[in-house]
């Protein structure tokens, strides 16, 4: 097995102001599938091609934003290995008992220097992707909305940028894939724990613990265009796109959920191997780095978080 340690973003728990509106947005418009609910009123969702029981948890709240994001590790040893590395780095950890989220094993919870709550876990109930594991069909019938394949990454705004970068690369073994720099100062860091263009990205900010967006993978550019159609049909607040990013070269569109949490759906971004060079974008070219065609920054995209 080539991929070890931290495997992928396993789920994101988002705070929402109105559960019915939010379930409609995530299930009927984006097209996630509801898999469970719990006594706290949380709703569990997954994308069709994920094997695990859920990748998004909607939590009823009077605030918007991200409660936490959790990454799946390969084995239980990995969980204890990273727990001790995190402690050694000087960050406290807490164990959240198995079953606190239905179908999820014990989680190791900690606050990263940028202020966000992150978790690691090794076990989650697998419910499959709706296809047989023998002679499987390429996709299941009856998908809805934008037909997202998986929860792919989140982009976060936070402070203590250098310390946070050190934590992710040294304690959690993430690899830097792309960055925006202003001279010596790193403004953005795209980080992977796999071979993806990013499994998480951080933008330097004075504010701590902000969610910029939660992102879902689509199959094609045509899917991104169709997402734009759905956004207009359903009167969803559109921010930007469809367009292409310079960073990661993904084809993308941004919009907001009914609580003001930003969503992205995208297709066809780049990939890395452990020996890939880091790609650097310079601050004087930041427009093109972010929106490759217009080369123009969008005020809300730079300034608005939840």
């Amino acid at each position: 097995m080539a991929m070890t340690g931290i495997l992928r973003p396993g789920h994101i728990q988002l705070r929402v102001l109105d559960m019915d509106e939010s379930v409609n947005h995530y299930c009927n418009n984006i097209g996630l599938i509801e898999t469970d609910r719990d006594e706290q009123g949380r709703v569990y969702l997954k994308c069709w091609d994920e094997q695990d029981k859920f990748s998004v948890v909607l939590e009823p709240s009077d605030r918007s934003g991200m409660d936490h994001v959790a990454y799946k590790v390969a084995t239980e040893q990995d969980l204890w290995h990273y727990e001790s590395k995190i402690k050694k780095f000087g960050i406290d950890t807490k164990r959240v008992p198995a079953g606190e989220l239905k179908g999820c094993g014990e989680r190791v919870r900690f606050v990263v220097p940028a202020g966000h709550i992150f978790e690691l876990y090794a076990e989650k109930e697998q419910v499959g992707n709706g296809l047989s594991t023998t002679n499987p069909a390429p996709w299941p019938r009856g998908l809805k909305g934008m037909e997202p394949i998986r929860f792919d990454h989140c982009l976060l705004y936070g402070n203590n940028f250098e310390e946070n970068f050190k934590f992710f690369t040294e304690a959690l073994d993430f690899q830097l894939t792309e960055q925006i720099v202003d001279g010596e100062v790193q403004l953005a860091a795209f980080l992977t724990c796999s071979t993806k263009a990013h499994d998480v990205a951080f933008i330097r900010s004075e504010k701590s613990a902000q969610l910029h967006h939660a992102s879902f993978l689509l199959g094609s550019w045509e899917g991104v265009l169709k997402a734009g159609d759905i956004i207009s049909m359903e009167d969803i607040p559109l921010e930007t796109g469809p367009t292409r990013h310079g960073l990661t070269r993904g084809q993308t569109i941004y919009f907001f959920d009914p609580s003001g949490n930003r969503n992205e759906v995208f297709a066809e971004d780049s990939y890395v191997y452990p020996d890939s060079p880091v790609l650097t974008w310079t601050a004087d070219n930041i427009g093109q780095a972010i929106f490759y065609h217009s080369r123009t920054l969008v005020d809300s995209f730079m300034g608005v978080t939840s």
């Binding site: 109105d18 605030r63 907001f256 609580s259 003001g260 809300s300 608005v304 939840s306």
Partner: protein
């Protein structure tokens, strides 16, 4: 019938239907820099203070507007739907944009 919304800071007036939130009416003023954020009560860029008029609200994130503020008319424009003519002043990010 649309209602008349007066921005006290500049004495500009725009019209807004009761099915339309106050920010969407303001966006149609076409002013450059009106902070069109999430339009869903989550990001806090569209804070206004309502001085006069009746309105309905949808839930807004408590990170940006406390219950006390909401009770006293400090609200997020994208979560407020007019029921009468309204006069308001703009706060924070929105203030800068409206004044330019």
């Amino acid at each position: 019938m649309p209602f008349q919304i007066t921005i006290l800071d500049t004495n500009e007036v725009y019209s807004c239907k009761e099915t339309q939130h106050l920010l969407s009416g303001m966006m149609q003023l076409g002013k450059k820099g009106i902070p069109v954020g999430c339009r869903s009560g989550g990001c806090g860029v569209c804070k206004v203070k309502i001085h006069q008029g009746a309105y309905a609200t949808k839930k807004m994130s408590r990170d940006h507007v406390s219950q006390d503020e909401e009770n006293s008319g400090t609200v997020l424009a994208c979560r407020v739907f007019p029921q009468t003519n309204i006069s308001l002043s703009v706060i924070g990010h929105l203030h800068k944009a409206v004044m330019r």
